[in-house]
């Protein structure tokens, strides 16, 4: 490549980075604005303040935000864990065993993945009210599985297919017991796939809004996105913009950290399941 071409690809790369980070930078800047500054029509605050963060963490909005944060973490982690365990078994069967119905399972996962969330919300709303799951953690964990399971099954089967399973036998030939062969050979090979799948599943659960807003009514189970969506009505005397921005920044931090640490694996996970033949 000539120097001129190189420069162009460099510029292209920088444009992409700016494109991706711009709205994040904006909401970050917004979260540091004072109430008077919100309408300054500028990108950056004229005076920087932590005021919005103290509002949501210790101040008037904290009883809305903190329980929501706890709910989000709890519900998403449990849903991620359940779907990872279930899909670990399923993916092992799909990758290693020869049985009819493999296509049926993958096809079902595909169908569930494209299922419109709102279509499930209506019947669940009524059912959960009748059986007492409305506005509870399990009431969200169960429907979250419809979001996390299909992608987990796909991603993990794609990962498991690439594991050189012969190494298990090789280890046994060399004198390892079945358990040792599994523990020392297969687990280290499979762990990255399981881990990556968990991250992607967590992102998807963390992102949910439709279930969160429809199947909860109080801070007992309401997750952060739903709480953010309802923030506006919370404090009548104050413009909620700054508080929303600060809360948005806080819930974005975990995903940004995960992305920065595991970017290579996440990309592999996202594309393996979907495109590679």
């Amino acid at each position: 490549m000539s120097t001129k071409q190189k420069t162009w690809w460099w510029i292209g790369g920088i444009v992409i980075v700016v494109y991706c980070l711009f709205p994040i930078a904006w909401i970050l800047s917004l979260s540091f604005k004072t109430t008077a500054d919100l309408a300054n029509k500028q990108f950056l605050p004229s005076t920087w303040t932590w005021e919005n963060y103290s509002t949501i963490l210790t101040g008037t909005a904290s009883d809305l935000f903190l329980p929501a944060l706890r709910n989000s973490f709890g519900i998403c982690l449990i849903a991620t864990f359940i779907s990872c365990v279930l899909s670990m078994f399923a993916a092992y069967a799909i990758a290693r065993l020869d049985f009819p119905g493999k296509k049926l399972i993958l096809g079902t996962a595909l169908a569930v993945a494209i299922f419109p969330v709102i279509s499930i919300v209506t019947p669940l709303f009524n059912l959960w009210r009748q059986i007492g799951l409305y506005d509870t953690w399990p009431g969200l964990i169960i429907p979250y599985l419809s979001l996390t399971l299909p992608i987990s099954i796909w991603t993990m089967s794609a990962f498991f297919r690439e594991i050189p399973w012969e190494m298990e036998q090789a280890a046994q030939v060399d004198g390892a017991t079945t358990w040792q062969a599994f523990r020392k050979v297969i687990v280290p090979l499979a762990a990255p796939g399981v881990f990556t799948t968990a991250i992607i599943a967590f992102f998807i659960a963390w992102n949910d809004f439709a279930y969160g807003i429809s199947l909860t009514s109080t801070s007992r189970a309401r997750p952060v996105p739903a709480a953010l969506g309802l923030f506006s009505g919370a404090s009548q005397f104050q413009d909620p913009t700054g508080a929303i921005a600060a809360a948005a920044v806080i819930v974005t931090i975990p995903v940004v950290v995960l992305v920065l640490i595991f970017q290579r694996r996440i990309v592999a996970g996202l594309t393996n399941g979907a495109v590679k033949g």
Partner: protein, 320 residues
């Protein structure tokens, strides 16, 4: 429990074991396979198939939560009410407009992004890759808020930055009309989901054999010709998969609309209509009917993609 879902045994021979009768070993393997994969399969069915069947059932009744005594069987009455109501067709129109615009822009933009990432020098590639994952990982609600605040008169900077454009001034109310609201909604959606498309396309791009590119180059093809005659035809599968997934995803749009306009100025999507009927108006019967219609639309889109464009999902799943 899972045994009930077993497909009819041995009428159709599995392709991968072509040698006639089934041995004990393969029978044991089959059993183990369903034992391991069964629970996941069952949970998937329980959390989707069961609710949709329930929704079909509810949709046949006139049933309002605040007035449960007066629940009455309506047959297809709810569907008739919906399909003859302008509100439904308006929401379909909005949903189709958003889907077509966002998917078209995302495909072109995503392709450009993928090209840059493929060519980007190794020194900046990790930075670009991390950046591109951020819109994907950010919560849709957060992205919707960011864009809404940017465009809103009271908090935004867009009006003052772009006041030099014709039609934009300090007092332009982006959320005051249908077209401008949809424009902002589309921007937010495009920002959020283009990176995902570009990653899928990048993976497709990597499958285009270099030899073909070189051969075309030697034969004197221009860069533009190579793009259209070599690159794109060779990654058709990846493009189709990205297109299918994004179309279905865009058609379900809900979060951004809820946050940015809450359906004001005729910006209600089908999902939002279903939500409003069910949760806000507690019209379980009508809401269920809208949900069922939404589900049928998604099935129709998926079906026409798979038949019409011959999207090979087996390949997409990595099942050769």
């Amino acid at each position: 429990m899972t045994q009930t879902t077993l497909p009819p045994v041995e009428k159709t021979q599995p392709v991968s074991s072509p040698r006639g009768s089934i041995s004990d070993r393969s029978r044991a393997e089959r059993k183990l396979g369903w034992l391991l994969a069964g629970p996941a399969f069952l949970v998937m069915l329980l959390v989707t198939a069961y609710p949709i069947v329930q929704a079909v059932y509810y949709s046949l009744f006139s049933y309002r939560l605040t007035d449960p005594e007066n629940r009455s069987f309506e047959g297809l009455g709810n569907y008739w009410v919906i399909l003859t109501d302008a509100v439904w067709w308006q929401s379909i129109l909005v949903t189709v407009i958003i889907t077509v615009i966002t998917v078209a822009v995302e495909l072109v933009l995503g392709f450009a992004l993928a090209m840059v990432m493929a060519k980007a020098l190794s020194s900046i590639r990790p930075v670009v890759r991390a950046a591109i994952l951020i819109p994907y990982a950010v919560i849709t609600v957060v992205s919707a808020f960011a864009w809404a605040f940017a465009f809103r008169i009271s908090t935004g900077f867009v009006n003052s930055w772009f006041a030099w454009l014709p039609g934009v001034s300090e007092t332009t109310d982006w959320f005051g009309g249908q077209a401008s609201s949809l424009f902002v909604i589309c921007i937010a959606e495009i920002w959020k989901t283009t990176p995902f498309i570009s990653l899928l396309l990048l993976a497709g791009l990597a499958q285009v054999p270099d030899v073909l590119q070189e051969a075309a180059k030697v034969d004197g093809a221009t860069a533009w010709q190579r793009l259209w005659k070599v690159t794109i035809p060779n990654m058709k599968a990846a493009i189709m998969v990205a297109l299918l997934f994004r179309t279905l995803d865009a058609f379900r749009i809900f979060d951004s609309i809820f946050i940015m306009t809450a359906g004001a100025n005729n910006t209600e999507s089908v999902s939002f209509l279903a939500y409003r009927q069910t949760i806000s108006r507690v019209e379980i019967g009508l809401g269920s009917a809208v949900s069922v219609l939404l589900f049928l639309s998604v099935v129709l889109i998926a079906f026409s993609f798979i038949k019409g464009f011959r999207v090979d999902l087996a390949q997409a799943r990595g099942e050769r």
